[in-house]
Symmetry: C5
Subunit: 89 residues, 5 copies
């Protein structure tokens, strides 16, 4: 699972039906400027450091094997002292 | 899920039967010069910023577990102010 | 799906039974010097630009869910003007 | 499978129910500063070099196809003399 | 599928039961210093250039859908003249 920080909510009105109205978040992977979109079944807020599961497990974690997610938040890290933070751009 | 921008339609006349006549798009991943091909069940136009699902979820998102996609568009982002845009090549 | 160019046929006499006698091709990913091996159910020739599916969809695309492929050609691109070509090594 | 070194236990009190109370470890991939989170069904201690399976096999390795893991420790390496160690940061 | 060279056998006495006593090999990906661990159902020796399948197909290739592998050798390449070899480190 990846360690990411939540940046903001993403609005996508035109979407396939299977996505439903689930909340989508823009997240940034630790030590990188790479941004991805994650499904949030936990209830995160901006700035939270989270654990995100990918691969086929992201479907189960989103609540159903038919849910079209490849990146789902599975937990909020209690405390993360990110030693790479000063060096990121 | 990845954040990508739609570049153009891709024409591939010789293809396996399972691909059907689905529309294929060339997309560029945010902050990268990497291009990939995505299936479009949403109906995008050139320049749209989109959310794309990979892994096994791309099959479900394309409409069937037997559809041979590993990269399927699931939504169009309403507004994307890409801060990495000026730096890309 | 990835955009790759076909380089040559790969000969591997010692192989697991599930691979069968399917033709294996060495392909190079667009804009990269990275080479991989793809299963070819379409019938490509050297120099062709092709669309290749990965993940679990590569098994279905190869003709059976039991076929051990993670990279299967699904179509030949009619025309590809590769703007990254001059810069590759 | 990846070769990683165990760094520490990760505490995430807010988590989805499917994760259960399984122990989560922060691991660093060999020759890289990249850190990920792995499920540990083996019982590792800090500093151990381990083999970690990803993809859909990580679910089975964690004990159930419904377990939402994409990175599960499957073994502890008896002895690892990491020749890349001096060069890492 | 990836093109890799076999380096050596890996010994991991503490392992999950599903791994069984299958032989595990350290392999290096072509043109890279990255090392991974692969399951070997073919019978390779040190120095062999091999084809390795990842993703969910690695389970089938290892002999069973329940086998926890994400990287399984499926064939030995008869002859590989690696043009990137001189430049690797």
């Amino acid at each position: 699972m990846k360690i990411c920080q939540v940046e903001k909510t993403l609005v996508a009105t035109s979407r396939i039906g299977q996505l439903g109205t689930r909340r989508l978040l823009v997240v940034r992977e630790r030590g990188s400027s790479s941004k991805q979109v994650a499904v949030d079944p936990v209830g995160c807020k901006e700035g939270d450091w989270v654990i995100i599961v990918g691969s086929s497990a992201a479907r189960t974690a989103a609540g159903s094997n038919d849910y079209p997610s490849d990146f789902t938040i599975v937990g909020i890290i209690d405390y993360w002292d990110d030693d790479s933070e000063s060096g990121r751009k």
